[in-house]
Symmetry: C2
Subunit: 382 residues, 2 copies
Amino acid sequence: MKFGVNYTPRAGWFHSWLDFDLDEVRRDFDAIATLGVDHVRVFPLWPVFQPNRSLIRPRALEQLSSVVEAAGERGLDVSIDALQGHLSSFDYVPAWLTSWHRTNMFTDEAAIDGTANYVRAIAEIGARHPNYLGTTVGNEVNQFASEPHPEPYRASVDEAGAWLDRMLAAAREGAPGHPAWHSCYDATWYLPEQPFTPQHAGQKGDATLVHSWVFNGVGQHYGPESFETKAHARYLIELSRAFHADPNRKVWLQEVGAPRNVLDAEQVDGFIRDTIAEAQGAPDLYGITWWCSHDVSRSLSDFPELEYELGLFDENGDMKPAGRAFAAAIAEAASATPDTPKTTLDAPAALDRRGELAPGGAFFDQFMAEARSNGYPSIRAI
Amino acid sequence: MKFGVNYTPRAGWFHSWLDFDLDEVRRDFDAIATLGVDHVRVFPLWPVFQPNRSLIRPRALEQLSSVVEAAGERGLDVSIDALQGHLSSFDYVPAWLTSWHRTNMFTDEAAIDGTANYVRAIAEIGARHPNYLGTTVGNEVNQFASEPHPEPYRASVDEAGAWLDRMLAAAREGAPGHPAWHSCYDATWYLPEQPFTPQHAGQKGDATLVHSWVFNGVGQHYGPESFETKAHARYLIELSRAFHADPNRKVWLQEVGAPRNVLDAEQVDGFIRDTIAEAQGAPDLYGITWWCSHDVSRSLSDFPELEYELGLFDENGDMKPAGRAFAAAIAEAASATPDTPKTTLDAPAALDRRGELAPGGAFFDQFMAEARSNGYPSIRAI
């Protein structure tokens, strides 16, 4: 099982692509390597890399390549997400998809083609390097399929699926032999109207990616120290497995973090420890990748308050107690063995019943009760 | 009277800020200087310069400074527009004003404050240099106050005026002793619902800026070789003077170009010659600045077709016939003397009657008939 962190550059956050400084990246990776992790997840900014539909900036690609190389020099593997897209409440969408050029990124052929070219180019950069893990289409691109994203990039379930197929194919063309993935925020699992579905998550791409954020209601509804909150990541892993068609398919807990809008400062370390302890026993787990490496600098404005405190390192580069808790937890988890579920629960597979799967929903509560009584059950989606 | 060009970088258009190369800028300015012009108008890209509300990138500012310096080395003065904002059909709005962070750029105090900081910083860069002309708040920022701009940055007339006051003050703080201007597209003159008004254009800032584009209906309605089309820039100059409170105020024809969606190839040179010949006699004319220096490269996608052919130089850097026509026209205009109007027409000053001022409107036609019969009249707005 892999352990890693989502790499949030200390100096300038992702705006550092505009002032690229490989020495800063190296310094950040030196720090990250001390956690004992084996990989980082890296995020280009889409409008910086592809400001015009037919301009994918060679220099930006070379800079990305140097980031992958710098990670490798420190023993770190790298996965790259292409379409950012959405990061920490901010949207970065190129001008060729907005305003006068507003078109549906999921259904317009020219937009799809331009986007696929970009995904392919990103994957090609990764594939140059021996420490490349694979390509994620983008960070929670399903965000753009619904409010509050003002550009109405709506799609039907079939259109969302077809778009994913195109993007995954582009990633595989760019990096043959490397996995191609796609990620989603949990509307996919919990919201009836979200066109990116559990079936897409569980069957497209080379593993299922799970992003677990307990500010989604679970922390508020059950309390920060509740079993449900600490088991939420594990629940999403088990739930996602229920939608697999391939019995050998893996699940990657690609994002999980300790948000301070539902956790008090003194609850963070325990949350990290317990979340990893609960998740580590999941069958078929590919890895756990913590969000995130570095706090957002207080010199940057307008982030939701919680985003300033998600780092394992602070904005000065010093390891926080959370970093030590994470390092200890993954050291312990490295020797974990997968659980053998004793029971199986049936979850509704129908898209319009996704509310039952969400925190506060009937199935969610059934799962948690079973987990507390008999250990984690497996789930069958019917 | 000043003559200049709007500087559209040959390599990479304004995306060249992402791959800044001062040698490319120098090469472009070498070419521009051969036209016989005395100044260039320069455009930062707002999200590149201020990606976060509290991050105005020092390196980008230094690059802008080096552009002003390079122009000076070639005998060219420089004006800078801060808020781009809108350029050639594309919108560049920072992520801190969109999606989750959507707020009204014209009325939200934090947004206004952040924007003013940026305008001030841009002006400060200009003021370092002896060849700095002054600061324009931004290129046609009034575009954002109406459709099709998807972010509803709507403002009342009073709010638009207050916003302009704030931005002009910021420009003056940044560059004391240098003029501060604001520009608008012609909705200000012609559309009843546009909150940036003729009174704002004619009374705020240190001159009135006019942008004349004959694709606004005049070319289509009256024909590409009509008097009305060739006199449109002059009309806007005269109309804008009608809204002046200061009798010594100047008008700057800051943008005028020869759009190929209403002009055939063989009509371009004549349009350039005649437009400048008609405009040059306007009283109180500060200058004429042609749009634009270089064609947009065909390697860049999604521009409206006309944008690929507006340059005085082609995408290889070679001067086009239009460049020669422009150079000849401004050489002749350099010795022009202002007309003395023989007559005065009364134009409606009421905002809801702006349609009468537009091409096809009653006042527009009255003006053109008078100009043909008796020479250009002056206009009184009542």
